[in-house]
Symmetry: C2
Subunit: 124 residues, 2 copies
């Protein structure tokens, strides 16, 4: 979700019936990059390990190359990282979001002239 | 919701905590315009009268002028119409949607190079 003033924009990429990329998955990629593991990223975003893993699995199945891969080795070094393909997809998705926000600015002005800051009381 | 190939775009305008305009409300305005009544529009969209009325009420409270008004008179003539302000907001919202779709085209190409048509089988 990207906010441009009162405008909420959501861009989702579909792959067959599955969601290949969207606001939540982009945040998850960033969290994996920051935390170095799927479990750490899930904790950071307040999601269960199972849900986090399923989101990663979906992303990895929807693109020509996996976006996330386990880092080699066990013990302390065990974790996950965003692949080069994952970083490219993430950057392209963020660029799409930024382009949408830029494009929205002019048509949004017309709407904002009439839009109230807060709703009036109900007429019921 | 606007689809641009595999990309699903959703633009919502917020007014305080309420949703002033979005894909569903824009469709509702068009249905009221076509059907000439709130109940007819609700039937067309498969919504209960109560839900349809609540969406209209929210729209009418979120903008400087009401977007929908009851048509005068009772009996056969009883119904609702989209106001001049409503038609302007609807047109501006559709223009915003179209602008977003245009802006998405170029950044989407980068993503589509890597996006599969259908997901691979799960790795589990």
């Amino acid at each position: 979700m990207t906010m441009v003033g009162p405008l909420k924009l959501k861009a989702q990429l579909l792959c067959g019936g599955e969601l290949a990329m969207g606001p939540g998955k982009a945040d998850l990629l960033e969290a994996i990059q920051a935390e170095g593991s799927i479990s750490g990223a899930g904790r950071k975003l307040g999601m269960s390990y199972r849900r986090t893993w399923l989101l990663v699995d979906t992303m990895n199945r929807c693109w020509a190359e996996p976006l996330v891969e386990a880092t080699p080795g066990g013990g302390e070094g065990r974790g996950a990282r965003v692949t080069a393909a994952g970083l490219e997809v993430l950057a392209a998705y963020r660029a799409l979001d930024a382009e949408l926000a830029r494009a929205a600015a002019a048509p949004l002005k017309v709407l904002q002239e009439k839009l109230l800051d807060a709703p009036k009381a109900t007429q019921a």
